[in-house]
Structures are given as structure tokens and as C-alpha cells.
Symmetry: C2
Subunit: 343 residues, 2 copies
């Protein structure tokens, strides 16, 4: 009664004996190697469905030294910007036969280390990471690692990188607001420890200069890059004198928080005050938010491409892909209303 044993995994050997061929032939069929005779292939395929065979990728990985898995580490999964990047990367890599293993650090360096270790052990073929705030300068432990690492959104020296031209993005926003007549423009920023925040701030300053608007230190508000930060930041900015008539925000989530602050002071965005966001997440579209489009999906795809390339050519020179942002004009911005604030 050998057949009665509840052998619970069907393997190549089972298929082979059922179809009357060898393990090797079954493997050839699975991989669609053309050298198999049509009749044999058919017989094998029948056995496969008959026995309910499930491919064991892990075993194959061990032999081929390729896992067809990549790790994706983001710094805040609750931020729709990252959620959209995740979707894009999963779709992109999924279509090329890769599995994505996701990790979230919540901006926690220790978690990031754990994830990196775990992914290297797995092992994955490569890692896509948006590094936590501290890790960009720190230790350099990201460059030259065994599973190659590609950074996105936040550059790391020595690593391939996909991101957006933050400086140009802020300038776009300022140019537009200046053209609308705004002279007092606040910058509701993210933490200055983030390179993207630094760059966007730089673009803000350059933009002001270019448009002949004088820089006012107190119009720059550093806040956490979330809804609450935007609310508090704009609330604070509104108390200043002369009050700003417009604001550029670190990202869309911050901008949406800022809009809430406006409304709770009975100001209508677009009519009484102009707000520009950054990233163009889905909510921005619906919320009528004018924003600097950094197309998260494109960043994700670019990063994935960089990683695939590096997996294929581990020693190729480091590359950086800097995408050009564009301004999406919606209802949250308008010409400065005449009586809004004295110049």
C-alpha cells in the first residue's frame, strides 16, 4: 500500500515516473526548452495537471542562484506617494516575472537594517530602497552590497538612483505663483534632514530670486511631512504679518493638511489663498490641488529598470535618472485677490 502514503508534495520525480520520462525532461518541459519532442511534452503536461504539480521556485532558485525576487523598502507605506510607487514597481517587475518583497521602515533606521539583513538572507536578487532619513550619509553600508541596491526618491552617494528634479519642481511652482501676482509665498517644508526637502527649499529660494521676490526667513516653516504638519504649518504661517497669500508645500499630503487649515479659518483655497503641492498623488487630482507632478509611477519604473540593469551588469558604472517634473494646474491656485494682503 505504498500509494496510500499521504506524500504531500508532488515533485518532478512524481511527474517523471507518471509520464515515463526522466526528471530532466520534465524540467525541460517546465522551462519551455524547445528541444523536447511535442509528443513527450504533451504527455508531461498531462501528468502535471493530473497530479496537481506546483512548481517549487525555491528549489530552482538554489540551483540557478537567481531568486527572481527583489526587495522593496519604503520609508512610509501610509503615504499615498509611496503606495503609488509600490504599485508601479510591482506591476512592472511582475510583468517581467519577478516577485516583490515589501518592507516598511516607518523612517526607523533599525527596522531598515533588519529588513536589509532579512532580504539579503532570503536571498533576493536586488533591493530597491527609499532610505530612511538618517541612513543617507551614514555608514555607506548600502553601496557595494552583495544584493545590489538601487535608491529612489532620496539619493545615496555611490548608488544607482531614480528621482525627480526637486529644485526645478519648486521653481516651477514659484514661477507660476509669481506670475499670478503673489509676493509673499510660504514654504511649508518637510524635515530639513531629508535631501528632497533641502532641494525643494533650494528651488524655492532660487525661484524667488529669479522672480525678484525677496526672501523672508519667517515664511519658511519646517514641519513633519504629513497632514498634521501641513495643518499646523499653514496655521502658523497665517499669523504672520504681512501674511502670505500663497504657499508651496513639501508634498501633497502636507498640502491637503494646509487646505484643511485654510478652511478652518474660513478661507477657500484658490479664492483666498493659493496652495501648491508636490507629487500629484491621486487625492490631489480629486482635491483640485495644483501640484508639481513627479509621477510616482515613473519613478518606480525607472528605479526598477535601474535595478534590473544592475542585476544583469553588476559592475557597470553608477547611474542616476533624474525625471523632469511638470506643473499640474488645478483649482487650489488663483491670481492674488486684490484686497487679500498689503504689499
Amino acid at each position: 500500500m505504498i500509494e496510500a502514503s499521504p506524500k504531500d508534495r508532488v515533485t518532478l520525480v512524481d511527474i517523471a515516473s507518471d509520464a515515463g520520462v526522466s526528471r530532466a525532461t520534465v524540467s525541460l518541459v517546465l522551462r519551455n526548452v524547445p528541444s523536447v519532442a511535442p509528443a513527450t511534452r504533451k504527455r508531461v503536461l498531462q501528468s502535471i495537471t493530473k497530479l496537481g504539480y506546483v512548481y517549487h521556485r525555491g528549489a530552482a532558485n538554489l540551483r540557478t542562484q537567481r531568486s527572481h525576487a527583489i526587495g522593496l523598502i519604503v520609508s512610509d507605506i501610509t503615504n499615498p506617494f509611496f503606495a503609488e510607487i509600490i504599485i508601479a514597481i510591482e506591476d512592472w517587475l511582475g510583468s517581467t516575472g519577478f516577485v516583490t518583497i515589501l518592507g516598511n521602515t516607518s523612517e526607523n533606521l533599525e527596522k531598515q537594517q533588519r529588513l536589509l539583513k532579512s532580504l539579503s538572507e532570503y536571498p533576493v536578487d536586488g533591493i530597491l530602497i527609499c532610505p530612511t532619513q538618517g541612513s543617507i550619509t551614514g555608514a555607506g553600508s548600502l553601496a557595494g552590497r552583495r544584493p545590489p541596491v538601487v535608491a529612489f526618491t532620496r539619493p545615496v552617494s555611490g548608488l544607482d538612483y531614480a528621482g525627480v528634479d526637486n529644485v526645478a519642481g519648486s521653481e516651477l511652482a514659484i514661477d507660476y505663483l509669481a506670475a499670478l501676482g503673489h509676493q509673499h509665498i510660504a514654504f511649508i517644508g518637510g524635515p530639513s534632514s531629508l535631501s528632497s526637502a533641502q532641494q525643494r527649499f533650494l528651488g524655492y529660494r532660487l525661484g524667488l530670486e529669479k522672480n525678484g521676490i525677496s526672501f523672508r526667513e519667517n515664511l519658511v516653516v519646517e514641519q513633519a511631512p504629513n497632514r498634521k504638519g501641513g495643518f499646523q504649518g499653514l496655521t502658523a504661517a497665517l499669523t504672520l504679518s504681512p501674511a502670505p497669500t500663497a504657499a508651496v508645500c513639501f508634498n501633497d499630503v502636507v498640502a491637503l493638511g494646509a487646505i484643511e487649515a485654510l478652511r478652518s479659518s474660513s478661507k477657500e483655497p484658490g479664492r483666498d489663498f493659493s496652495i501648491v503641492g508636490f507629487n500629484n498623488i491621486a487625492d490631489a487630482h480629486f482635491g483640485g490641488l495644483t501640484t508639481v507632478d513627479t509621477s510616482p509611477a515613473k519613478i518606480g519604473e525607472a528605479a526598477a529598470d535601474l535595478l534590473l540593469h544592475r542585476i544583469k551588469e553588476p559592475t557597470s558604472p553608477v547611474r542616476q535618472v533624474i525625471l523632469t517634473p511638470r506643473l499640474i494646474v488645478r483649482e487650489s491656485t488663483a491670481r492674488r485677490s486684490p484686497g487679500s494682503s498689503p504689499d
Copy 2:
């Protein structure tokens, strides 16, 4: 010149020969088996750091028939409710030494099938899933699968399940609104194809009945479960006559959209109209939204526990964990304002 070869992976054999012991001993050290002599253990550990050994989990998995990986499939990663569940599950499983492989279906059944296949092949030890809308009744292909599957948020017959008592949740909301004097309460619902939407609707009706409020068909608005749906749903509800003075929403995202609709009709939530959400996501806290707390983190942990248990005891009876929701009162609800609407 054998040592010059760029052998690029350090394995147990390398450690063994460096430390002058056998593969098996190194393995014992790695797994912290106590039978190893302290001196030997020390020597092995030194070789490990010296040679920069990285554990190869995949190889171990093949032998032990356990991957210590679980698959997590959500239906919409851009929804903060799921993002919070994801974080909870990752933290929980991560602390027990599991790796989480995430997949997102965007409510797409075909994607879900692809993900299930990919995860089974990997292979993972188990799968946590919030099934897409169509798949709950369909095919029954989820129950009795080889990697055990646990559902959350949306029950599937024959599967372990962790979720919240949606009926009781809606009732809580209605009880509270009724106590505040509201007589015309709208229900801005999710798609009726979702079991959770059905249950919440049921709770709405039961709640009305219990509080002696007559049910009005036209106060029930079916909408997509996102910000836009909430906006459109409430905008539509406001045109009715007699107009509602309060609304229960399918979830917090819908509720936040509804609040936007209120504001763009110059109504202030809490003062002119009461809104109750569902889930208690982080944004609800900040946005001052009264909501039915379903504690996503708790759902995630409960689901993870169910899965761990099933992995250990594959043939144990199916279990369902139904968490009890509670109402979190914030500023978006208030006593019905006297002149708001005729009874």
C-alpha cells in the same frame, strides 16, 4: 592560486574549513543549538564575521520545508486602512521571525490569481488575504489550498477569518447620532458587492429601527469606497428633501470626502452636519472625525495569529475572530442644530 578565484558566496563549507570543524557544527552554531562547546562556538563565530558569511535562508528552507515567509494580499494598498493593517502584520510576524511578501490586487481578480500562484510557488508557509470583491463566493478555490489561507476584513466560507462586527459598528454610530437628536441620517455606502458594506448597511437599518427612526430609501447612497465617492455621495444627499442632518459613511476615507463636500457647500462638519466614519485611520484622528474604531492593527494581529496557528495545526477547525468595534467621538458630530432642517 586557488584562493585567488573570486568565489562570490561564502558558505557553511568555507566557515567550516576556516574554523577547522564540519559543516554540521557550523549549522549547529548558527541555530544556537546548545550542545556546541563554548570554545568551538566562539571559533566558528569568529570565522563567520571574518569571512563575512551571509546566511542562505533559501537553502535552509528547501531542507526544512518551511520558508518562514508568508504572503499578504490586500485589495487596495493606497487605502490607509490597509496600509495600517500591513504595518501591524509586518511588525507582528517580523518579531516572530517571519518575512512578509506583499501583493496588491487593486480589486482585480486576475491579479489576485497571479499573486496566489506566485506565492504558492515561492513557496510561502501561509497566505493572509483580503479577497477581491468577486472572489468571496467564487470558485471556493481559496479554501483547502496547500499553503493555508486566512482571510481578513472580508469573510470567505471555509476559511479562518479575522474581522470586525460591522453590524454592531453601524449600530453604535446610529445610536449615537439618534441620541444627538438626528432623525434623517444618510448612509454613504461602499459597493453593495462587499460583504462589509452589506453588513454595515444592515447595522444602519437595525440601528434606525431600534431608535424608532423610519427608514428612507433615498438616504442610502451607493458609492465607490474612496474620497471621491464620499464627496459625490454627500453632495447628492444634500439635495434631498427633507435633507439629512447627519451621515454614516462606509469608511473614513469616504467620510473625509464627505467632509470636503460639506465644506464646499459652506457647511462645517460638527456644527451644521454630523459625519461618522468607519475604521479610525490616522487621518481620522487628525481630521477630528467621529468614527467607529475597528483598530486595523488589531485585525492584522488577529489574522496573523490565526495563520500562525493554522500553519502549526493544519487540520484544526476553522475559526473566526470577530472584534468588537467602539465609537470614537470627535468634532465631526454634534447635537442637531435646531434650525438645520424641518422634521
